[in-house]
């Protein structure tokens, strides 16, 4: 087949050039929201697989306590923990490692001995039969009032809640953007029908079925949706790359190292197909519905 023939001079309407850009803007927003929420769930996954199954016991130094005594307290706690049911292992984190962890806040050249740093015990829980956290807490504070149990669970739950909320917001925005796109297509199709009412009527009267007339509008909407979608993800991809580039060049431990995976890009790349199909079916429904009003 040669070029697709149309009976309606729709592509010459001035609004036709504008619609892909509006759809493009919508797709851009949807693209960023989707990328953001994909990144967040990726991030949450990394965090929970790194953290769950472990708790940390903080041992606070007493005032002017010599390092030797603090070490003894730590060793004693490690021994107790190792004997406890539901605990797979306990290990005191060496002072040097704690120093590394604190470096971003305290700077490199710190005299460790001069600071009353708390000591940390890394406790691996038996994942199959973990001990109740409350019991563990009481047991520890009975053994040593200066021992605090840091249960990452709370922090993790809160993080999961936050990520969940952010994803909900992102999903809501994508939905709104989708509705706005539908609205634009309905509006554009209606004004197209109004502008070409005479042609629509003639087609109708010489025996065109509704689907034939709808095809004229839905083909245009399909192209517009596709163009808009491509514009949207093109700008979206540039933005994501730009942000990724900027993040790579911030040398900090605070920023998590997450990247969009291949299947994330596939999801984003399918956006133009989605906008094209949404636009097409919206235009079709709009035309079919308004033709129903004709005899």
């Amino acid at each position: 087949m040669i070029r697709r023939r149309t009976d309606l001079p729709l592509s010459r309407d001035p609004s036709v050039r504008l619609v892909p850009w509006i759809i493009g803007l919508m797709t851009y927003l949807a693209c960023l929201m989707l990328a953001g929420s994909l990144l967040l769930s990726e991030l949450l996954g990394q965090w929970s697989s790194g953290l769950s199954g472990t708790v940390t016991v903080q041992v606070l130094p007493r005032e002017r306590e010599p390092a030797r005594l603090l070490n003894e307290r730590v060793d004693k706690l490690v021994r107790i923990l190792e004997r406890t049911d539901g605990i797979a292992g306990a290990k005191a984190i060496p002072l040097e490692e704690i120093a590394v962890l604190l470096e971003p806040w305290l700077g490199g050249a710190v005299a460790l001995d001069a600071l009353p740093l708390p000591r940390l015990i890394d406790v691996r829980l038996d994942m199959i039969d973990p001990p109740p956290m409350e019991e563990l807490k009481t047991m520890l504070s009975n053994a040593d009032p200066g021992a605090l149990l840091d249960d990452h669970g709370i922090w993790q739950d809160q993080l999961a809640d936050l990520v969940g909320a952010l994803e909900l917001v992102a999903g809501f925005v994508v939905l709104l953007v989708g509705l706005a796109t539908v609205g634009i297509v309905i509006f554009a199709t209606r004004s197209g029908m109004a502008a070409h009412q005479d042609v629509v009527e003639v087609l109708h009267l010489i025996g065109a079925e509704d689907a034939y007339i709808a095809r004229q509008f839905q083909n245009l909407a399909l192209t517009q949706g596709l163009h808009g979608g491509i514009i949207g993800i093109a700008f979206g991809a540039v933005t994501i790359w730009g942000l990724g580039y900027a993040a790579d060049h911030i040398d900090s431990a605070i920023l998590p190292q997450v990247q969009l995976l291949a299947w994330h890009w596939v999801v984003l790349a399918s956006l133009p197909a989605a906008t094209a199909l949404i636009a097409r079916s919206t235009a079709r429904r709009t035309v079919m519905r308004s033709l129903k009003r004709m005899v």
């Binding site: 023939r5 009976d7 001079p9 010459r12 005479d198 042609v199 009527e201 003639v202 087609l203 009267l205 010489i206 025996g207 065109a208 079925e209 034939y212 129903k292 005899v295």
Partner: protein, 235 residues
């Protein structure tokens, strides 16, 4: 029938067209000729009364089937209603394309018909660049291209000189001889008296028959069961 909430434009109109008949539809301007034709080419539904087309009751026919009925009716609109962005060729081809006819068949038939109506040299011209009479012939060609069973023409000779008007009428007569039922709305006394055909006359929304039986002409016998078109009584 009435337009919106306006006054009743057609009130007492009852007739049946015999297949293969040829009628003039007359009446002064505003009498309702175009309105009656609109009912017949299914652009309007009657506000009351019965319209039967090819033995189908329009009121009870599913909307999906109407396009197929419309394809059996050729219409020459009073204002032509050509599509200005399409060439004369594409305008004439439109009814066939809408019906899904093969492009090669379309080319052959349209070329032939445009040549026959003397527009062979203007196939690629767009309607606005054609004279009124040429546009009218494009409109007539479009109404004939699908070989309709019923041809409805609203003032098809309004924009041409008498000589061309007579030629166009011969064209309709030719079509009628091949079996198409023809109704022509006209003001032209000249044509009406020259072609001695039965007349449907509208006056104040009331239809009056003037049957002049001629060779090839119909009698408007309402008892004919093969009626291509019928109208119930409307008061």
């Amino acid at each position: 029938m009435r337009y919106g909430t306006g006054p009743e434009v057609l009130r007492e109109v009852t007739f049946t067209l015999k297949p293969g008949s040829f009628h003039f539809l007359t009446g002064r301007s505003g009498a309702g000729k175009s309105s009656l034709l609109k009912l017949m080419y299914l652009a309007h539904r009657p506000s009351r009364g019965l319209v039967t087309l090819f033995d189908e009751d329009i009121a009870t026919l599913p909307r999906k089937r109407l396009p197929f009925l419309r394809r059996r009716v050729g219409v020459v609109f009073q204002e032509f209603r050509l599509l200005n962005h399409l060439s004369a060729f594409d305008n004439v081809a439109l009814p066939l394309r809408v019906a899904g006819v093969k492009e090669s068949t379309i080319r052959k038939h349209v070329d032939e018909l445009l040549a026959w109506t003397g527009l062979g040299d203007h196939m690629d011209a767009r309607p606005p660049t054609l004279s009124g009479g040429q546009q009218q012939r494009v409109a007539i060609a479009r109404s004939l291209i699908s070989r309709p069973d019923l041809l409805l023409a609203d003032e098809p000779t309004g924009n041409v000189d008498d000589a061309l008007g007579v030629r166009l009428l011969y064209l309709f007569e030719e079509l009628n001889r091949m079996g198409t039922t023809v109704v022509i709305a006209t003001h032209s006394e000249n044509l009406v008296s020259r072609f001695k055909k039965p007349i449907l006359h509208l006056e104040d929304g009331v239809l009056i028959h003037h049957d002049r039986v001629e060779a090839g002409g119909g009698t408007g016998d309402p008892r004919d069961s093969r009626k291509p078109f019928g109208r119930g009584k409307r008061q």
